[in-house]
Amino acid sequence: MKIPLSWLKDFIDLDGLSVEDIARKLTLAGMEVDEILYVGLPMPVYKEGEKHEFKTNGIGWDKEKLVVAEIREVKAHPNADKLTLLDLYDGQQDQVVLTGAPNIFHLKGTGKLDKPIKVAYAKEGTTLYDGHAEGQVLMTLKRAKIRGVDSYSMVCSEKELGITEESDGIIILDDDAPVGMPLADYIGDAVLDISILPNMARNANVIGVARELAAMLGRELKKNSAQPSAVSGQSVKELVEIEITDPELNPRFVIGLIRNVELKPSPYQIQRRLKLAGVRPINNVVDATNYAMLEYGEPLHAFDYDVLKQRAGDKKIKIITRAAQDGEKLKTLDGNERTLTAMNVLVCDEKGSLSLAGVMGGAESEVSDTTKNILLEGAAWNFINIRRTAKQHNLPSEASFRFSRGVHPAMAEGGVNLGLKYMAEWASGAVAPDLVDAYPLPPKDAVVEITVIDVKRWLGIDLTLEKTAELLKRLEFKCTITNNQLQVTSPNHRMDIGEGIVGVADVLEEVARSYGYDNIPTTTMADALPPQVGNPVHEWEEHLRDLLVALGLQEVVSYRMTSPEKEGRIAKHDEYVRLANPIAPEKSVLRRSLVASVIDSLEKNIRYSEAFSFFEIGSVFEPHKNELPDEPRKLAIAMTGLREAMAWDVKDSPKLDFFDLKGRIELMLSGLRLTNISYTATSSYSHLHPGKAAEVKAGDKVIGAFGEMHPLVKEQYELGDSPVLVAEFDLDIMRAIAPTYGIKTIPETPPIYEDIAVIVDESVKAETVEALIRQTGGRSVTNVRLFDLYRDEKIGEGKKSLAYALTYQAEDKTMTDADAAAIRNKIVKRLEKEVGAKLRS
């Protein structure tokens, strides 16, 4: 909410405080000032090294050079039809000023004006915004000749002074503007743009902010009279009655009447404040409703009395509030016809609907150019209902903003009185006696009891009840102290204080704000440290991440949201966890495949590097109709590209293949200390190459699968020429397997190293050969490493040579060559017998 400082000063004395001091106070108390816009008041000047506190914009007005002046005569320019020459007096001397302003042009040549026109006058050398430039561009007034006439100064538009973007006409000040006064002293201002928190609806108005500021500063809140100064004519009670059909939806409805208003623009001071607050001035009557709302907080609605009177015929006007019927229509004053539902509330008369309650008026009964007599509505509505209605019709308005956050029903009366008062002042109308006030459901203002212990226990500060009461009274809570208890009654302008223990917390928050968060000490917790439990699941996953990074894999983190089409390239599923309100079709469901996520990342990057090894750890989402999904944790890996990093003298590298991935997996599993791992060829994963895929088991549990991406699947992506290797592991299963932590002792006896190569049929698996070697060698063979796999015609068709490096070692003695030879012979014989192996010479 934008609040001009001048308006705030109507209600609180801010002497001795800079604009930034005020903004800081408000910000710390929960009314965060997002920006300070200077519109005439001097801007703060920061020296090098000085700290900023707020985002700041705008312009300060030079007190010497920008003053109130009066135009005494409007003459024609001798050489330019579209320009006029103004004779004006700036309080010190007469000046001649050129202008092309359209709102003064019609006076050209009228001679001496009967009533001088008050304007904002900028002398030579003034810095202000260029009225003709796009946006806000500063310029300095210099002497020049325009069509033969000396020009050195100007009368200003709002754009030039930074009040609005309006550059079409000059500002015409109110008649009582004091000639010669520096403009900054007369209408210089600064606008505080304040974020209103959902629980601070009471502060969405000038008085609310002034009240908070008064509390935080310990200053007095000025109470200006909100009553019209005089009333006359027939009482409104005799002309209008009100029927509320559902007090839950409409706890109060107040109506006042003002007769014989003269519609015209509001005083400039009022227009200026409305503009700075972001509201467009319309006419004095509409402006009065907006001005009263911005000042006091009660949204008001003005009806054309005569329209309602005509609709009522010879009967008394009867205002009825009721829920709309499904499908009922109303043309709102923005010109749109709206189809309503039973959730919406309408203000009606006996002929039909008049306005969408609390959100927007109807077109038929709105104030028009010919309006003479005004019925002014101030009401209270159910905030949830208003919020839903405003959302449903996409009608965020100043009124619905306030009503949907809760406006206290007590405000309705004061709001109507204030609106009538301003209409009487600005539109010279006559206020009718009384108000029609239907108030079927007054709220019960919360009463909360707090003790010294509550304050200590919740806030950590020692405050007497008297001090606590004083802090709360500043915010207009009613306080009584009895028997070591402070009874606190919520003031009748706010609805955010609850009952019971919730009310205690609500009140303690107000105590803390009033006391100042900054004044609350900073303490170390005295409460006992709870038993430290750790989180093995989290720690295990973090360990896994470390292992994978050490193996050269880059972690990625992907969107949980995908589409069945995107993911279907890897894995097709019928059922998904589906979003009811996706932001885009490609983010319509929650992923079921983590591999698909990682492949997407790979595809996006494929042009940017020679090699990729990505992994991701995260949840996938398995749906249960109308219930929460399962969220199993998965690991996915994808690799592709070159095995070696290229360099200026490394120009070639093999491409990553199945065994690069398998090697990473072996190291990962050994890092997790999982043993009894087996790899089985598999063709049951549709996204994997049927001949280059393996399922991984730990003991008898399948923990994952990996392999080369199926060529047909790969075709659906743009993934380059290299094979793409992918793996997916089920972390919940892996984590549940008890790891083995024991390590082997390192023997101190010398080892014997020996290589043997055997020739076997192609069909014999490497795994089988190695297992036979280990089995036969027993504890004397401490390491078996396949170092070569070889095929050629000398060995024979359908045959392969497997070469192993063996380490023989005894635990208790030095092994001799003869010992080793004996073991080797046993191994060779066993291999011959079991798999028909031949020792290669």
Partner: protein, 352 residues
């Protein structure tokens, strides 16, 4: 004979003077000290000499041999020295050529930042507690004091999951990690319902908001919350804990301020600003010229939340605070576009 020996010595030394590489040194040795050298010929001819001549010639030959050997040694050293000096002078690398790199692995920046945050919290006694990403309205909102249709829900635009017949308890993507507060409190309260134990936990995880994806807003982001519940926990303690955390996270001298704020699930609530660590509070683009960076929200756990968790607010109190690792990274590393995080562009990831 003496003359001959002198000749041999003179010729050898003259030849040695010409030698200047290792191969020539060896050739010289073979020629002048080798088995078939003239000097060795003198030695082998000693037997033919008379008894009287033999000792003198022997002595003289030996002297020549020692002299030549010494000269050789000196020459060899000099040649080696010269060769080394030459090779050192010649073998110069262009050290500005790039080194040979490896394909290395890294953690995603969010994981790195989550770890920094969680490590500090762990040292402060806050243990990691994780919970689900898809939640019910009850856990995400109602138990956290957001009644159905409450205006505070406007603060958290929500992704809903298709599900029927769930009334006021739809399924949704969690909008914050706070549902974990309820899960955790209920978990701990269940261990001793009549006297629930104190709690100190950290709640990390991915959260989701219904937003358009732009440089400034994302549909998912990580959050970490700290939660402490006990019989003796105050707002002053919250301030102390945050001050400790901020010192550890942003440095010894980091100034901070508490601003009154509003979250439905805490009361009193506060936003915490840290003096901009990019400009030191002077005002810059990162802090939008305010000198302060909003880095976390906090407050005393609302009584309704304690009740929902199984903790009696008349006996227990607590505080909670939450922050965003991606936001911290954006501020600290000047990441101008939040979309980088889940874009997984290697050119971004490689910079962390």
């Amino acid at each position: 004979m003496q003359d001959k020996l002198n000749e041999i010595e003179k010729a050898a030394l003259a030849a040695l003077a010409e030698v200047n590489d290792p191969a020539a040194v060896e050739a010289w040795r073979v020629t002048h000290l080798g088995r078939s050298s003239e000097l060795m010929g003198v030695f082998s001819g000693l037997g033919k000499l008379s008894k009287e001549e033999r000792p003198a010639v022997g002595q003289a030959a030996n002297r020549v041999k020692v002299a030549l050997e010494a000269a050789l040694e000196e020459k060899a050293a000099a040649v080696k020295q010269a060769a080394l000096a030459k090779s050192l002078a010649e073998e110069k690398l262009d050290v500005t050529l790039p080194g040979r790199n490896k394909h290395v692995g890294r953690l995603h920046p969010s994981t790195q930042q989550l770890r920094r945050v969680l490590a500090i919290l762990a040292e402060m006694g806050f243990q990691v507690f994780t919970s689900r990403e898809v939640e019910t309205d009850e856990y995400n909102f109602q138990h956290l004091n957001f009644p159905p249709h409450h205006p505070a829900r406007d603060m958290q635009d929500t992704f809903f999951i298709e599900a029927e017949g769930r009334g006021d308890n739809p399924i949704l993507m969690r909008t914050h990690t706070s549902p974990g507060q309820i899960h955790a409190m209920r978990y701990f309260a269940a261990t001793d319902p009549s006297n629930p134990p104190p709690i100190r936990i950290a709640l990390p995880g991915m959260c989701f908001r219904y937003e358009q994806i732009t440089a400034r807003s994302e549909v998912q982001f990580n959050q970490v919350e700290g939660l402490a519940v006990g019989k003796n926990i105050t707002f002053a303690d919250l301030k102390g804990t945050i001050a400790d955390f901020v010192r550890r996270m942003f440095g010894e001298g980091a100034r901070l301020r508490f601003r009154a704020s509003y979250f439905p699930f805490t009361e009193p609530s506060a936003e915490v600003d840290v003096e901009c660590f990019v400009c030191g509070g002077k005002g810059c683009q990162v802090c939008k010229n305010s000198g302060w960076l909003e880095i976390l929200g906090c407050g005393m756990v609302h009584p309704n939340v304690l009740i929902a968790g199984g903790y009696d607010p008349k006996v227990y109190s607590g505080y909670a605070w939450g922050m965003g690792p991606e936001r911290q990274l954006m501020l600290r590393n000047k990441v101008g576009d939040i979309r980088y995080f889940w874009g997984n562009d290697v050119r971004f990831l490689e910079q962390f």
